[in-house]
């Protein structure tokens, strides 16, 4: 057992820190957008930054060299992800979705041409995908999706409606799960497609999220025609391909790093805020609460380290990823609550008020954290996975 990072890995951490200090745009720091709070302006800054990150090979460091990756070790990737999240760099869920959800399936099941077309550009930071998964009647029961794709001569024709497409209004492509055979059991008639978001027949309609921002969308497909080449993998095998790729490198190390930052800010706030002749930091209840979330965050961090370690050993985590996502999402919600309690009435104040503290980051996080534990597989689904896949409990 050895929890130490190698000297070379520590040096890499330092390199990443220095690079981020130099490259995170000042304007981004001023805008300070939290998760799900991107605007036109911040999105443009993000994309610029992500291309720079791509030039370093740090957008998709895991990928094979021939597709623009660095074949970076698992431990170094853990370090990179930790530092990116801790620094608050302009890299969010859109990159996570593209790099860790979409391209792994293309790499596993795509043709050589598809890999060259998509994977390489993703690695450069040139391409963003949105997910075409959820539908109004297919959420946790994703396999119930109804969006239809039929063959017509040398094209596929798409009709249907997708929803909760994060950044669908910015994305270059949609990674679409659609029904290609309605006459077989639901899991057996799904295929995966790459759809250019500029294709005629696609309508993107904004959904305004809990932070009063436009981050996700409904996407309507009305006789959308795409080339046959845009099918990825085998027709009707989409569900199984997705299941394979779902386990690709998912830990919640980013959540742990973000939490760490917030805990540090709250500690600082408690030390500086006067109260009853001393500071908030003298209050045993506040000390207990802050220490409690710090303890939990270390538990989360170790869960994530364990996942990276398993990969480095050639093992394939399955329920372990669900566990860290579950734990991380519940923790960030608790942290939001603890933060709000510490700030008291000031915690309610939004950006723009001269009385707002910590740039209203805590109240924004209190809202945005609701999405954790819902998106990307609800906590109930994660618990099902842990119980059935991890512990072997029976389905019936």
């Amino acid at each position: 057992m050895d929890f130490k990072f190698a000297d070379e890995e520590e040096a890499f951490r330092e390199e990443v820190r220095q690079w981020l200090k130099k490259e995170i745009p000042q304007r981004w720091i001023e805008l300070d957008p939290g998760i799900w709070e991107e605007t036109e302006e911040s999105w443009a800054l993000s994309r610029q930054f992500q291309r720079k990150l791509g030039q370093k090979g740090w957008i998709a460091p895991a990928y094979p060299k021939e597709y623009g990756g660095l074949e970076m070790s698992h431990t170094k990737r853990l370090i990179l992800a930790e530092e990116l999240a801790y620094s608050g760099a302009p890299i969010g869920i859109e990159v996570e979705i593209t790099v860790n959800w979409v391209t792994p399936t293309i790499m596993l099941y795509g043709t050589e041409k598809q890999k060259k077309d998509y994977v390489t550009r993703v690695a450069k930071g040139d391409l963003i995908f949105c997910l075409g998964y959820s539908e109004p009647d297919a959420g946790s029961d994703l396999a119930a999706l109804q969006t239809r794709v039929v063959e017509d001569a040398d094209e596929y024709v798409i009709n249907g409606q997708k929803t909760w497409c994060s950044y669908g209004h910015y994305a270059d492509y949609c990674w679409l799960a659609a029904r290609t055979d309605p006459d077989v059991p639901k899991h057996k008639g799904i295929s995966m497609f790459v759809v250019d978001m500029k294709t005629p027949g696609i309508t993107v309609r904004p959904l305004i999220n809990i932070l009063n921002r436009h981050s996700f969308n409904e996407v309507f497909f009305d006789d959308v025609r795409i080339p046959k080449d845009n099918l990825v993998g085998e027709k009707n095998m989409g569900w199984y391909q997705l299941a394979m790729a779902l386990d690709f490198e998912r830990s919640s190390i980013g959540t742990a790093a973000i939490n760490q930052r917030i805990i540090e800010e709250l500690v600082q706030y408690a030390k500086e805020t006067k109260c009853n002749g001393g500071t908030l930091a003298d209050d045993p209840l506040i000390r207990n609460e802050l220490a409690g979330v710090a303890v939990e965050n270390e538990v989360l961090r170790m869960m994530c380290y364990r996942i990276a370690w398993m990969y480095s050993k050639g093992l394939h985590p399955s329920y372990e990823s669900s566990m860290s996502m579950l734990f991380g999402s519940e923790l960030i919600r608790r942290l939001g609550n603890v933060g709000m309690r510490i700030l008291g009435p000031y915690g309610q104040l939004d950006v723009g008020s001269k009385w707002a503290v910590l740039n209203a980051r805590i109240m924004r996080m209190y809202l945005s954290s609701i999405s954790m534990g819902v998106g990307g597989g609800s906590n109930e689904i994660q618990r099902n996975i842990i119980a059935m896949r991890g512990l072997g409990l029976p389905r019936q």
């Binding site: 057992m1 500690v267 303890v295 170790m302 869960m303 370690w309 618990r383 099902n384 991890g390």
Partner: protein
């Protein structure tokens, strides 16, 4: 970074599990829980023959020179199976303290006897205030005629009922700070004036009250330096907290396995109860607590083993594991339903120990206070 066990540690784990399963069945656990001694001398001898008591002691003192991490592996198995008896007191609280603070003569005298199972040791630290801080050490030791005379009351002292020697923490000087003026004494438990009373406890572990009434202790029996014993105590407490976490992780793992296997077998409404989502989610919560505890415990154990400052890591591990073990065993009870509410069943053995483990060496609130300090609050 490597979060796994070495090949030797895996072997130790497997052999410990097999041995305990065979030699310490739950019937024996229950019998020992109900006894006044709380351990089986026959089992104790066999453990000594396996080299367990000497696992972390250097070879020159009759041990096998293992690391603290090796001990953690063994303790996890002891927690998994449940092993009543004074192993923890003798090795973690006693042996490691003498190894860390004893002079050569003391090491030569005591450690080989620890290694071969000849003596039982324990730490007599806590008093009726029931706290783990230096200010709570009120028991006094006064130098008189070339000896020390100890007077005071120690409480919640583990396995003192069967101990041959007590590592008694006493105040030898009133200093400016409570940490000053504390000395550790190796006290023969049969010394005149030592009165030990067994306490009846929730976990039916063997905690005792010890009254020191003018107990004479030779000067040679001071462990470490006079008046400067507190750092030694702190270091013992740190190791003890991690060691207790290891035991608790093992116990939580066993509780999880018991409950999951029952959930797969128990049929109600014509289906195994483990197919109900309510039960599945309980189980998912349990394994999350078990795994979460395991890796923070390993990190703390690794740091302690390597001699790296570990105040924060140990407090994190103990704060979390203490409460996680309680949650796991409570959910275990929920899954077992009424059958778990019987003395015949094994679940309560773990449920009881979870609470005892939580309290010992600082509970969640205590440890979070340490974490708060480490955070800079």
């Amino acid at each position: 970074m490597d979060l796994g066990l070495s090949e030797e540690q895996e072997m130790l784990r497997t052999s410990a599990r097999d041995f305990l399963q065979k030699e310490c069945p739950k019937q024996l656990v229950k019998q020992l829980d109900e006894s006044d001694e709380g351990y089986s001398p026959e089992l104790w001898r066999k453990m000594a023959e396996l080299g367990w008591m000497g696992l972390v002691l250097p070879e020159e003192y009759g041990g096998s020179g293992g690391s603290f991490l090796d001990l953690v592996v063994l303790l996890e198995e002891m927690g998994y199976n449940i092993l009543p008896g004074p192993f923890f007191s003798t090795v973690v609280l006693g042996g490691l303290s003498i190894l860390a603070a004893g002079n050569e003569e003391q090491k030569k005298e005591f450690l080989p006897k620890v290694a071969n199972g000849e003596i039982i040791l324990t730490l007599a630290l806590t008093e009726p205030s029931a706290k783990y801080d230096a200010a709570s050490v009120k028991t006094k030791a006064v130098a008189r005629n070339g000896e020390y005379v100890i007077n005071g009351t120690k409480l919640f002292i583990l396995d003192a009922n069967v101990a041959d020697y007590l590592l008694c923490v006493a105040r030898t000087k009133e200093g400016v700070k409570p940490e000053d003026g504390i000395t550790i004494f190796l006290v023969d438990a049969k010394s005149p004036g030592v009165k030990c009373t067994l306490l009846k406890t929730l976990a039916r572990d063997k905690q005792c009250e010890i009254i020191f009434d003018n107990v004479n202790v030779p000067k040679d029996n001071v462990l470490g330096e006079v008046d400067r014993g507190w750092p030694v105590v702190e270091s013992i407490l740190q190791k003890a907290a991690v060691a207790k976490c290891a035991e608790m992780v093992g116990g939580a793992q066993a509780s999880l396995e018991m409950a999951v296997s029952y959930a797969k077998e128990r049929v109600q409404f014509n289906r195994p109860i483990g197919s109900f989502q309510a039960i599945q989610h309980y189980c998912a919560n349990m394994v999350t607590d078990v795994d979460g505890s395991r890796f923070v415990t390993y990190r703390a154990a690794w740091k302690v083993s390597e001699g790296i400052p570990a105040t924060m890591d140990v407090a994190v591990a103990k704060a979390w594991t203490s409460e996680a073990y309680g949650r796991v065993t409570l959910l275990g009870h929920q899954i077992f339903g009424a059958i778990g509410f019987t003395m015949d069943h094994d679940m309560h053995l773990y449920y009881r120990r979870a609470k005892a483990g939580e309290i010992m060496f600082g509970d969640g609130d205590f440890q979070r206070a340490v974490v708060a300090q480490e955070l800079g609050l």
